[in-house]
Symmetry: C2
Subunit: 230 residues, 2 copies
DNA sequence: CTATAAAGTGTGTAAATTACACTTATTCAA
DNA sequence: TTGAATAAGTGTAATTTACACACTTTATAG
């Protein structure tokens, strides 16, 4: 039994990544300056067409890998966009992913198809081509929901971070304010982070303790019916 | 400016629907008996290749429309599956959707490409072809999460339902038990459902009051920061 | 009219969430 | 060296929410 798929069904499929970072109390998104048509010379989400011998997940990881040189990044599929006219050169479906990276740990290098890459504060994103703005909005919503129910905020912070930093991160993403004492109490009571004994250095005020996130803990706690919530 | 997408990137894209129903205290899923290759004569998720002139969402709705004759069904995109070898006839990405339907209101008619369609209790699903089992698991997980945070359970019940019915539905899907008094208290306190004044008829015990879900309420309440949780 | 079956209802206790303000540790500049 | 500036760090009482728990009511069937 052999057969082929009729060519009247054949379209291209791409991946587009919404890469989030956190820096200077701002949530940021990584955009590339397109060096090729269509929409040459526009800022856009980093993405690429999927070649036929590559798994979907793999493609999304490769795009990010080319862009950042990083492995082992938190990624998640968001949604697939497939309006007939979303791409001017033909029918192209795109599978959107989001990624969370530790912005200060790594420098971003533009890939072959991009002339430049840069971080934009989430509220200062320029006009985006295709349906990229819609994708970005989708990603923001997902991030907001997810960060409240899963301990993924730590993916955006350095290995060692202060309680004030994690609180600012939550406040920036959720666009709310938390009471410092209550926030700390709740976060610490989950036993997902521990005091490393280290401290901030060279700050013009009382230095904050540095904590780190214990990845294993969450997996263990989940077994016992624990559910993360902030 | 004109260009085309190289054919080395061209693949097929399909939609597959996980259609849930609830009946006799059981969560059920709708499968079709495939009348065409590949996997002819297997039970599978209803799906179809997307033709190039059709939007993605539209395709998913059409598959369901052909199968059930129904419009206006709750649908949600789940995830996109794109392993290179997931389809024996070539590269086929599939975008999975889930749909919730009121099983008792409508009879299911098999579509052209299916010889038969039938409801299977979620724990008595036969082996499925392609990666359909993986898709189904994904859909079950999503349903479990979603039903706790959004008032979508009502989509699975008749227009008028009893409190016992909605409780059984939650118990079946979440695989837990709820205390009757607490469940009712919480559900009613959300003001999303109202007593219609009607009653069950011809049951061999005290007849239950019939309630209905007020769609508009949820939208209103959301504005004011309300969040559904059960 | 009695048995059966499921519907319907309230209260006290424990746990979680919220509101709220001052003290401490460090750097920098006078 | 000392005081001003800055952000870190900390506890308790009040309120709200979640949880555990058992009997009464209303219908039908025989």
């Amino acid at each position: 039994m052999e057969a082929n798929i009729e060519s009247k069904f054949k379209a291209a499929v791409s991946v587009d990544n919404v890469v989030f970072g956190f820096d200077n109390n701002d949530l940021k998104v990584l955009l590339i300056y397109r060096g090729a048509e269509p929409y040459k010379d526009c800022w856009a989400l980093p993405g690429d067409l999927i070649s036929l011998d590559q798994d979907l997940e793999q493609s999304a990881e490769n795009v990010l890998q080319n862009l950042t040189g990083l492995d082992n990044i938190y990624m998640d599929q968001i949604h697939t966009f497939g309006r007939v006219d979303r791409h001017p050169f033909g029918r192209v479906f795109t599978v959107a992913y989001f990624a969370l990276i530790k912005i200060q740990d790594y420098l971003v290098k533009p890939s072959s198809w991009a002339e430049e890459a840069a971080w934009f504060p989430i509220n200062e994103v320029p006009e985006l081509p295709f349906d990229h703005m819609e994708i970005l909005e989708y990603a923001k919503d997902l991030l907001k929901n997810k960060i409240r129910h899963q301990p993924i905020g730590f993916e955006l912070l350095p290995k060692y971070f202060t309680l004030t930093e994690i609180q600012s991160l939550y406040e920036a993403i959720l666009e709310t304010q938390f009471d410092t004492r209550n926030f700390r109490k709740k976060l610490l009571s989950m036993n997902l982070i521990v005091d490393t004994g280290r401290q901030q250095k060279e700050v013009a005020h009382r230095p904050a303790k540095l904590y780190k996130y214990i990845t294993k803990r969450y997996a263990q706690l989940q077994q016992s019916g624990f559910s993360f919530d902030l």
